[in-house]
Symmetry: C2
Subunit: 353 residues, 2 copies
């Protein structure tokens, strides 16, 4: 499989399988390093290349990842890297690296492994909907398979050792992407976020660390990886997410019952602009798609599926837009292409009150 | 004729006759006072009532205004006054007055006379499109007819005397309402306005003195009434308006040739929001209608006429909305009614590139 196949594949986790509701996706990642080998930030290029080769071989011998695609950071174009970032398969940091750093990714993109990012290994499982426990079990299995082939840096007292102290211990980061537009429309999202941060969870935007919540998408993850078992971390997040879903449902019920015109206005305007705009920024597009998603969730829009919205959200990002027309586009051209794509894909969308 | 007839009449100057382009309407008014009678602000109620009765009789004897509707300010509801203001037939000041103040208005609303506003008489002629000279001649004729029946306060050196020094001399205010959305979209309107103000013209918003320009509508009028003849005042305004029309046409040509996508985006979004919003403020409605008007002028919208837009602009104002459903509406209800009216009236509007 080549990157072009991957890009054209409809098997991307974001558009596949189920129609997601409030929880758009679940993600788990494990940070691991090889025992007695310098962390990537301290190793020379030769050592990083050697480690990468060895790790590829280890993954090739696992049942989970055998035959997966490997992408070498030194061989990818800037655009390909952009696309992988937009698909949540690589981080900004990995994209900056060259020889000796790469990505192993399963055909459905559900499991991916960054080699020589900040740590030797960053293994990720991602899936649409709320399935934290399932994907954690899958990733735990892969972790055990890998550990049979390579010794991990581990301290009896601290746990797994990582380049950044914030990952020491379990090396586990579990996160969910939630679509909290009910709370946002009622101006209650900030209070909820503050509450989450007080109990030690991190809240980020659609594109991860350092990004603002756009399109009413919030990524919620554990901050601490130390002092608790993997099971406890996952269980806390599952519990909090359950509460958040209840909060969001309650907000939506209030919108529907008490502020229906406001709600329909919000969704209707998004349809109107999506069908008629000729210029759309990334930011505005996700905001419109968020409103359409809410329309689908409420049943005001019946001829559109949440997974189609997920797909449009992916395809309208700058890298994907450029890949689609096979050339580098300036920001203005992208904004026009994006508007065209929304009109094409949403041409039949109607509001039913 | 009663006020209800007037309100329901399609003969209102704003929606009648021609499809207006850049110059939406022309208006001329004359301030006059009766010789040796106290100005309305100094007169007692009894005197104002007497003056009003006498003036009505004078107008009834003119060829122009015989048989016209008279509306007594003390007999009108707040809502009726609101409607008359929205139709540019009375001022905010006249609406505040009671017995002894009133309005005489011709059937097509093209000529109207406020009695006992700030001056004893404020006679106005208004018409769609650019017809300053024509309506000035009509109003001049009425002025002469009235002067045969009543002596005006006049000073050989100063000219006609008025309550406010700013009207002394000719008592003439000529104005045009212009739709300068090309200049506005190119961010050049402010420079043009500054230029107009430097040559002694006043620039106001859609609803006259003290209002902001909304919907890219600018009312341009002479400031000084003294030291020049009526003909000179009109001629200057005609000349300036001609220049402004050229400026605006040039701006539109640049938009069409150099920024077509931006232009189509602007018009398309307005269509999208107009057809889908459930809540619309007055301000947003006129902005949308301004964009639609531009779409009509450019031929991007073919199944809509400028006069229909003028009519919607009038009907979506708070007073007219309330008159249509015969009850007082709160601001939220009005915003919903307004959105409904736009959807109804614009249902068939499509963008053709």
């Amino acid at each position: 499989m080549q990157i072009d196949t991957l890009v054209k594949s409809p098997g991307c986790w974001l558009s596949m399988r189920e129609d997601t509701g409030i929880v758009v996706s679940s993600r788990v990642r494990l940070a691991r390093n090889i025992r007695d080998v310098a962390f990537p930030g301290w190793a020379g290029e030769g050592e990083r290349v050697r480690v990468c080769r060895e790790l590829r071989a280890v993954f090739d011998r696992t049942e989970t990842m055998a035959g997966s695609l490997f992408l070498d950071m030194s061989e990818l174009t800037a655009l390909d890297k952009e696309i992988l970032k937009e698909r949540h398969l690589i981080s900004h940091e990995l994209a900056e690296k060259g020889a000796g750093s790469g990505l192993i990714v399963s055909e459905d993109e559900g499991i991916s492994v960054m080699i020589n990012e900040e740590d030797h290994l960053r293994m990720q499982a991602i899936t649409p909907g709320m399935h934290l426990e399932e994907i954690w079990h899958g990733l735990d299995l892969l972790d055990s398979e890998v550990e049979r082939g390579v010794g991990f840096a581990f301290d009896g007292r601290l746990g797994y050792l990582t380049a950044c102290p914030s990952n020491v211990g379990t090396g586990l980061r579990a996160s969910v992407m939630m679509h909290l537009s009910g709370l946002k429309l009622l101006d209650e999202a900030q209070a909820v976020i503050n509450g989450l941060e007080r109990i030690g969870l991190a809240v980020r935007g659609l594109l991860g660390e350092g990004t603002e919540a756009s399109g009413n998408m919030f990524q919620i993850s554990n901050q601490s990886t130390l002092g608790r078992s993997e099971g406890e971390i996952i269980a806390q997040l599952v519990c909090v997410v359950g509460d958040l879903v209840d909060h969001e449902r309650h907000a939506r019920a209030r919108l529907f019952q008490q502020r229906r015109t406001f709600l329909v206005d919000h969704i209707g305007r998004a349809i109107g602009v999506a069908l008629h705009a000729r210029i759309l920024s990334s930011r505005e597009a996700v905001d419109l798609l968020s409103a359409l998603r809410l329309g689908v969730d409420f049943g005001f829009i019946t001829n559109l599926k949440a997974r189609q919205i997920n797909e449009i959200m992916l395809l309208t990002q700058p890298g994907h837009l450029q890949k689609m027309c096979n050339r580098i586009l300036g920001p203005e051209e992208r904004d026009q292409m994006r508007a065209g794509l929304l009109r094409d894909r949403l041409g039949e969308v109607k509001l039913r009150e």
